[in-house]
Subunit: 245 residues, 6 copies
């Protein structure tokens, strides 16, 4: 796998599992092209997304360790580096300090593409909080006057990945990403997340549905395979291009 040093993907995830369900395909695709991919988990999802472990009577520290090791395994399958900021969840509190940590990561990893949550999610307050910090930190990292190591950031595009309840979160797909060629990696990464087994099938099915939608929007003439898999995203800034397509 040749390294593509000019491209760098940064994924800001509220909890330890989000990046797998919602953007695992995008991460694996980037990694498969030799690009650097970095996942930042603001929390382990230890309180809000570990119901199974709590019901089994596990303690907080155990749960955090469990979610961490699961997420590390998943990131490894996808080909991404992963970092944990351990900021606590449910609620994940938006703060200047946590935003500053993100600025440092932006300046260090110099992403050319950023993925994060939606700004609306009536079922989970941590997701919008993570998205707000990811967006604010990107702006701060662009300022030469912001006091953090490294050069000012450029203007990488930002995409929201798909929330669990799309319509209720005002998620209208702008981009359908063909992840067919890396889907087995995503499936394998999802299977690393034993704490949320009920999600495995759900997100495999979602990949099919978004794949059908991709084919519907690409048109029948492109000869896409029956088993096309896709992930959906929403853009935060205009798409800069030299070709309409």
């Amino acid at each position: 796998m040749p390294e593509n040093t000019s491209e760098s993907l940064l994924v800001v995830s509220a909890h330890a599992g989000d990046f797998v369900w919602r953007a695992g395909g995008a991460i694996a695709l980037a990694a498969s092209r030799g690009e650097r991919a970095t996942v930042v988990c603001l929390s382990y999802g230890e309180r809000g997304e570990s119901a199974k472990a709590w019901r089994e009577g596990k303690q907080l520290d155990e749960i955090k360790a469990l979610r961490r090791s699961e997420a590390e395994a998943a990131a490894d399958v996808l080909g991404a580096d992963i970092r944990f900021l351990d900021a606590g969840d449910y609620p994940l509190i938006e703060s200047r300090q946590l935003t500053d940590q993100l600025v440092h990561i932006y300046r260090e990893t110099r992403p050319t593409v950023v993925l994060t949550h939606t700004l609306v999610d009536p079922y989970n307050g941590d997701h919008p909080a993570a998205a707000r910090m990811a967006l604010n930190a990107r702006i701060l990292a662009q300022a030469v006057g912001y006091d953090a190591p490294g050069q000012p950031l450029g203007a990488p595009p930002v995409f929201s990945f798909e929330p669990h309840q799309s319509e209720m979160s005002e998620f209208r797909p702008d981009v359908l990403l063909d992840i067919t060629e890396v889907f087995e990696l995503k499936r394998k990464a999802m299977r690393c997340l034993g704490a949320q087994q009920h999600m495995w099938t759900y997100y495999e099915d979602l990949a099919d549905r978004r794949g059908v939608q991709l084919k519907r929007n690409a048109g029948p003439n492109l000869g896409l395979p029956h088993e096309t898999k896709a992930e959906a995203f929403v853009r935060h800034y205009p798409h800069v291009t030299d070709r309409l397509s």
Copy 2:
């Protein structure tokens, strides 16, 4: 210029001049890559966008002939075929017959990209009428059961080009297209439109402003030239891709 037979651009324009001001760069870019580009003018803009000619005392037939020859010259500069459906303007009336004519053109030209007006324009009712027909005809052309020659259409992406008053027309750019390399062609094409001289400078300046915005959204690190020129568009359907960028 090598011909690229697999790509075909279709532009549905309410009046004879719209395609030049709003999408001249996109057309010239496509043509410069050897792609087929077809402009359909639903009317000549003889009543609503020819105020100068009316004030000079010209008659309806003269004005239509004038606008036609200007538009032909501009299309020629840009490298596009042009057709005139002469459906009348101010008001341009949405009709089944005119929509059917568009279906036939879709089936014949088999566009891989479609450009048209916005669905909202509080300053000009013809523009949304043209957009509605362009969108409906595309759907009809996709149906194998629709009675028109040719094979059913695929699902080409549709973009709205920029209206004259963007904010009032709820135009929030989704795509910024770099037209720097073909801008001299667009400038030359605009100068073919003598009936609307007051627009020349306006749209040259707009290309600069959209160019600045493009650079702002691309980031400083890409080394884009100072004089970047751009056109802005809004997508109607999700972008299908295998790479986030």
Copy 3:
């Protein structure tokens, strides 16, 4: 009452009563300043807004005559000219011919302010149809090339007056008009509309409520009287002014 020949108010009303309930104060205010006020009733509201008369067993022609005489009396009280286009209601059908009649009226009356319905009303399809025609006709009347007598129109501001169910019609007031000084005229005009007696009290109370809202938005310091009466409107185009207030 001195005549103010430079100002002209045009009210486009779907039915014979709408202009009284929703804009009677604005009309009386304009007339009280010596300005010309013209009401155009596209229909008599003979089918959709004359339930009482139908229940009393009246015939279509009787009802139309009744609504016409009521509306004439109300317009007279308010100080407005009134015209009836008798285009039929329930449904009021949007047509090129009716729009053309409106263009001729715009060119003749040369309004400096236009009032009409909202573009959304889930309880009455005639109201949005009237609004669409009023807005389109205004644009057509501006074109020197449109074939109708008179000079091209300027760009008079357009306001939607208040629909019966404001929230459901997406009516968020932009303008609160103080009609205190002419409210007795509005009350008297409303009492001319015997076919819709159940509305009298409703619109008197609404004037109070909008008056309270006006005072709330003007601030307590202006010393407005306790019995301030108001009407609410929504602007369609930006307010042009040389003073923020």
Copy 4:
């Protein structure tokens, strides 16, 4: 099955199959309670939703007959009466005459609940056209002055059923209807529609997903079965009730 003569469900469907995929559960539920259910198919979907038949070389009349018999079979399974207005599809043209036919049906069937399409669907122009006519006809049927047999209609609630691409059609579910107890009937009715076999699995899966969402919104404490099936709807008018729930 006892007859419940006070309740009557009316479903306005653009094409012959829509009512099954999108509202089959709601129809079967109503019928299972002994309520009258009437489906009106404005067209057979002969051009726009019969691709398989066209590809097999069938003729227009054959296809219409085929779709009609399939829809009749499905309606029979669900327990609904069905009528075909044969207004043509692709495009389904909004007209005064077709709207008037709907008014007559409203006056005759006196629905207490109405189901139809969404007002937005960027993939199918017939669906919004059907919705607009269903909504307008309901308003007209309420007017004592509208010239059609029967008494004026009350104010039955109207729901949009789910479009094929929910997010793109701005469909944010307001109501999740538990159709578990009648799901086998819906499944059987779907299987009557041989012309659209590719939809069978899709809509079985959708019932599961909406069922999961129903349970998520009902809360875990209600003890809903694992295999809950649901359909999603959007309300057009406020819900009138004497109990919040």
Copy 5:
């Protein structure tokens, strides 16, 4: 009055009076059915909604005591328990601690229906702050991992009650609740609030207007009494039901 132990209503009110004006009918209805009703006042409204007392020269502690006793009397009339968190108003500051107090109350009272403010109110910043905390706390209370006594909460529906200026607060009624049978209790409860006498008539009139709207949306055939009283609400989550109505 039989006790209905399975139902529990929780009302989160920014100030001491809000729950009476905006949801007094809903509270009295629930209590009249034997359901538990609990009101939580985050503040006494001592600064922002006690202008009369300040103008009379009262001191902060006096005003808080006054508002408390008024609210207790009103809650008693309506049949609700009431609690005061005394978090301060104008501004009411959103905080983790206050949200945590709400989580504890959710876990204890186990509401089956939740009422709170709108998320938008350009005239009062405390109202959206209260709504955000009420919504976030409900999500946190659902998590088994959240450290608070009691079992995880189910998913009770949440409704916004009506703000003082509905259109400006983007309040489009989703639900009209018939409160006719308990309206005398609401009237009596309102009269307990001597600090805000100017509101008494306003909210009596609003109950009438919402009652008229309820009848308009229920249809004339239901035989509702002339004096129907109603309150309006907006749902935050889809309505889960087994019957469309």
Copy 6:
């Protein structure tokens, strides 16, 4: 220049330059009528809007002093008082203390018109933070019970001035202000801001474009000069008036 003691303009600006680019004309107009104008800069824009100075190697204190002196010079040209709260930028943190400072200023300056940023700006998080505080402080200043010197504030109208990227910030102009007569003052004030020279031409051109739009919305008949200059604003509350225009 006669003093107009009854009118007072308050401008809440996140950084030291914003008030000049976006509202310099409105300020100069007010001052030219003898009205009091006060600018509050929440920060100097020392980190986020001083890239040139940072690139030249200046230190933080130098940059703050530089921006302050530039802003003082510009305010002096426009005829406004200016205050600096030095709250820090990038990020400007919303806080109770800073909001309280603004309440004191509202109570002291008693504005009759307020100008601030938009509530949405995806390119700059400080701007919405400033707008939120300006709006909240205005509400707090209205409460007699708020503990700050001076009388409770009335209800001055609030306008958002134009953000740098209007469409992306959901800025749809409500008001176009004719600043032709004071434009030379605005130009001169802009030239005081040496740290942001690249903005000079941009905002001179914007004044032209908004001027063209003003003329388009005023109509050709008003005889406005060719070189009309304008600024655009969005209202937060309904316009209170006794005359539609």
